[in-house]
């Protein structure tokens, strides 16, 4: 069964450094998402992406965040200058076409900012 994959599974970085989290959505899916989960808290929406542009973003998704689909398979989340409070689990999700389609989640990347 096709699945969403994410790399790396765990990333450790120093405060102020840039990180890029990578996702490979399910191959025929057209809508892509990033969510994050700070340890012990609920999962929060960050951004949705369709047709090579952001379709929706939350207040969390400020100027230090950016997303990109650099080729036909990858979907990336970049954090320009990481802060301690960016430490969290980051989940990528994708869905096919119709609004009723389910969003499928990847296994997540655990980001630790020191």
């Amino acid at each position: 069964e096709p699945e969403v994959t994410q790399t790396p599974s765990h990333q450790v970085t120093q405060m102020g450094q840039e990180v890029i989290l990578r996702c490979v959505p399910i191959s025929n899916h057209l809508y892509f998402y990033w969510y994050r989960q700070i340890l012990g808290q609920k999962v929060e929406f960050l951004v949705s992406f369709y047709n090579n542009e952001i379709s929706e973003k939350s207040e969390i998704f400020d100027d230090q965040f950016s997303v990109e689909r650099p080729d036909g398979s990858n979907f990336t989340l970049k954090i320009r200058s990481t802060k301690l409070e960016d430490s969290a689990m980051y989940f990528c999700a994708s869905r096919w076409l119709i609004r009723t389609d389910t969003q499928y989640f990847g296994p997540g990347t655990r980001l630790t900012v020191l």
Binding site: Y31, Y33, Y35, Q41, K42, V43, E44, F45, S48, S55, E56, S58, M89, F91, A93, R99, T100, T102, Q103, Y104, F105, G106, P107, G108, R110
Partner: protein, 115 residues
Amino acid sequence: AQTVTQSQPEMSVQEAETVTLSCTYDTSESDYYLFWYKQPPSRQMILVIRQEAYKQQNATENRFSVNFQKAAKSFSLKISDSQLGDAAMYFCAYRSGGGDDKIIFGKGTRLHILP
């Protein structure tokens, strides 16, 4: 704005018994979707079951079923014949049928299975 509330931070159930996890939500929309996601220790988010608000019939998936009460805005998950592999964090979630495409999650209920 829509909200999802899970009032039980933790629950325990004996193996092979039945357990019900509670969820309430608040929305002014009539068209929406509700979900239960499971997050085992590996932290991957796995879809357990989904319910379309326009459907009166409660969704079922094998040992998992929901009790969807639209008027009361309640969406509980029943797990029958609990197994050790069911131990996980369970998140109730909401998605609008139009407009916003994002999923809104509750805070989760940690389910322990007692052997």
